[in-house]
Symmetry: C2
Subunit: 239 residues, 2 copies
Amino acid sequence: MNNSSKNQHISRQFDDELENVLSEVLAMGGLVEQQLVNALKSLIDGDINLAKEVIDTEVEVNTYEVKIDQECTNILARRQPAASDLRLVTAVSKTITDLERVGDEAQKIAKRGQDLTEKHSGPRSYYISIKSMGNLVSSMLHDALDSFARMDSKSAFDVANKEPESDDQYSAILRQLITYMMEDARNISGALDAVWVVRALERIGDHARNICEYVIYLVEGKDVRHISLEQIEKEIINK
Amino acid sequence: MNNSSKNQHISRQFDDELENVLSEVLAMGGLVEQQLVNALKSLIDGDINLAKEVIDTEVEVNTYEVKIDQECTNILARRQPAASDLRLVTAVSKTITDLERVGDEAQKIAKRGQDLTEKHSGPRSYYISIKSMGNLVSSMLHDALDSFARMDSKSAFDVANKEPESDDQYSAILRQLITYMMEDARNISGALDAVWVVRALERIGDHARNICEYVIYLVEGKDVRHISLEQIEKEIINK
């Protein structure tokens, strides 16, 4: 084997390793996405078994996180990735931390759903708003992962751009829940469970935005974590 | 210059770079620690100006995060760190993410403190419990950073071991706040601000524990993120 074909061979192996890590990130993302959808369904339908399933998925998500992180470290140790590949490894390592936290939040939603189903009765008019915010946040997570898969910084920006909408829904539901608590002190404990649910959804929106920021970093080579949406749009997306 | 002294020169430079990154992490940690202490003080004393100072520190914390992450990427791109140095870079990159989030939570405490001072009057017997939990969590963060500075996995474990205590305090204060809300509907809005404060404290405890887990990973070479405290103690600390 001459040197050039040997190098090609190594680089091919390296590409395979990166491809493999990427497909694992997307598999982990798919799992977490499903966890969120099921958590919301278990809450709305009062389905205790589905909630249990969501909670049990934690082990699988954690295993992905540790395994992918280990693979990233191996790649860094054995290869000396060039700038863009290095950004990919960094983006992967940060993305899986956010995905694991989304899984945690989905688990919390499922647990609060169990509590609401088992311990609290009474009207739940606020479920409609939670469902609507849940749909928004789920679609943000889905689209964030999609922009990651396609390494598309423009669509990543579009997802990040939806965060203010999710923040608005969050504040509106909180106001609704406070009113509900004030109407009758017996609503307080149950409404607080609902408060934690919307809080978890709000955090998932944050994580989806974080993932989008890593995609922009990966594609554009710019760290945009603490830059306003207007500035990202002006300087990076429409440059 | 012969090859050996050239290698020594390179390795010396490399050590200097790592030292530099480490001291920046500790400087960032010190800043965030102060942010937390000031946030709690601003809440308890009703000090609006101090709260504003905490909120304004965000920019400085963010700058540290982006700068240190960039330095980690540079080190990975220009050197090929051996296993233990590579673990150091990974641990640094993850630690600063947690530190930045601690800063965010401190900021939230300061903001809620402003709201409590400006909008809500009434008895605040729960402030004593919040202060106590605040002290516990501040000391956890301080000791976590200390174990990082000394790369001491045993003391890192001791800090992680305090998390259940912080969780207990968290649940106790929540119960106290729910009772307070039930007593008088006019307490609800203010008590909810207090709920967010204890929630932020609980999360800071989580982040302190995360940092301890990176220290154990760094020193012992084992990823302990999803392993129980008992197992860590048995298999790693007292091995």
